[in-house]
Symmetry: C2
Subunit: 243 residues, 2 copies
């Protein structure tokens, strides 16, 4: 069923009104009066609707059923990645949204090769990728994409979560499964992964001092764009959000 | 450390000999005598070596240590995917090898859009992608890429494994975590995922009759190239191969 995100204010009195880009999308999809669509308020609630009318300016739909979006996981996961090169960011955003992340941030580390002057300029494009992935995968929210600055900025976000993991491929680490098994009831989590060259040793030390769990994801070396998706999936599995 | 796969026969008497493309790769990497490299026999054994000499034709290295490759999981996972469009195959191969799959196969289903006349012709290119990913992620084997024909062919491969899962996004299904928790000691597994349009209902019925577990991976709709990676990761997590 086609899926739209609109603000709750447009969902008054048993009718939903789609305007602008969304109204256009209804026309592009050639939806006809009587056909069903899902409208989501972006805060986890789905409205199953039947299209009543549609023109260039707006589309109106009758609300048939209101329900909690079943695709939303019980844990809000923030993924924070050392900024990778090129369009790997896009891939990370798309796949992490599908896998269940609620927020995605990028930050610079000592080994980042990409060092854009105005990273904030990319946010708008990144946010569109997140929205498309949210629609496609049936999410109940549009995960936000943020620029987290540097490692300090990422750690500042991470330490406010119920559980914060720093995924690191060498040295002394905790086993990911043991940490997750001991934290099944969390409501928020942060997962930090490195850029192409990985994190430096002192970055891992800093994360540990800040209170993060420095964790291993096994002995296979994951690419910087693969690690976030694997980490989100493991967390979703461990917290009962993958079945 | 750079990683090479060579046949066991070139590892006699404490010396390893690299020829052809591998010898060239040693030169491209500008490895010098005295530097270390890992040579893997492709059957799960790693040889930590020190380069002794290198020219256009061949490179010779002294074996310093022999050990079981730590990156190999305890379960040999065969991933079988409904053939997707375009280069999504490449993505599936690369990511599944990183995630720990031992074998990857593609097959045609009722909803496959791509219907190549000679799919076997693609195997050579697919196999190169698997080899590159195996080197990059530190695997102890080069996962094999196969053409599995149609659903019957895929089911025939799957039913020979200790555990065979058919991942399906609708209808009556078992919970993935319950099935995996009940099968932690498996040595072999098969994971079947669909093409862009998903599996048809009768295909799921057929899989069930054949003895596969028809499983859900949660309410988020995963793209056909994302589902295999998520499934392999969940299995690796559940069997203790992700920490």
């Amino acid at each position: 069923m086609p899926r739209f995100f609109i603000a709750g204010t447009n969902l008054a009195g048993g009718m939903a009104v789609l305007r602008g880009r969304d109204a256009e999308h209804v026309r592009v999809l050639r939806l006809r009066p009587g056909e069903e669509l899902t409208i989501c308020d972006g805060e986890g609630t789905d409205y199953r609707c039947r299209l009543v009318s549609s023109d260039k300016e707006q589309a109106e739909a009758e609300v048939l059923e209101v329900r909690r979006c079943p695709a939303e996981p019980s844990v809000a996961v923030t993924v924070l990645c050392g900024l990778p090169k090129g369009d790997k960011t896009d891939y990370i955003i798309q796949k992490c949204v599908e896998a269940g992340a609620s927020e995605i941030g990028f930050f610079l580390t000592g080994r980042c090769v990409a060092r854009p002057e105005n990273p904030e300029k990319k946010i708008e494009r990144w946010q569109r990728i997140a929205e498309e992935a949210a629609k496609q995968s049936g999410r109940g929210i549009i995960p936000q994409v943020k620029w987290a600055g540097d490692l300090a900025g990422a750690l500042d976000i991470a330490v406010k979560k119920d559980l914060a993991l720093f995924l690191y491929e060498t040295g002394e680490r905790e086993a990911l499964d043991q940490v997750l098994e001991a934290n099944k009831e969390i409501k928020t989590a942060a997962l930090l992964t490195g850029p192409e060259g990985g994190f430096a040793e002192f970055e891992a030390k800093l994360a540990k001092i800040a209170g993060l769990h420095v964790c291993s994801m096994g002995e296979r070396i994951l690419r910087c764009e693969t690690a976030p998706v694997v980490a989100v999936t493991a967390l979703m599995y461990a917290t009962g959000n993958l079945s």
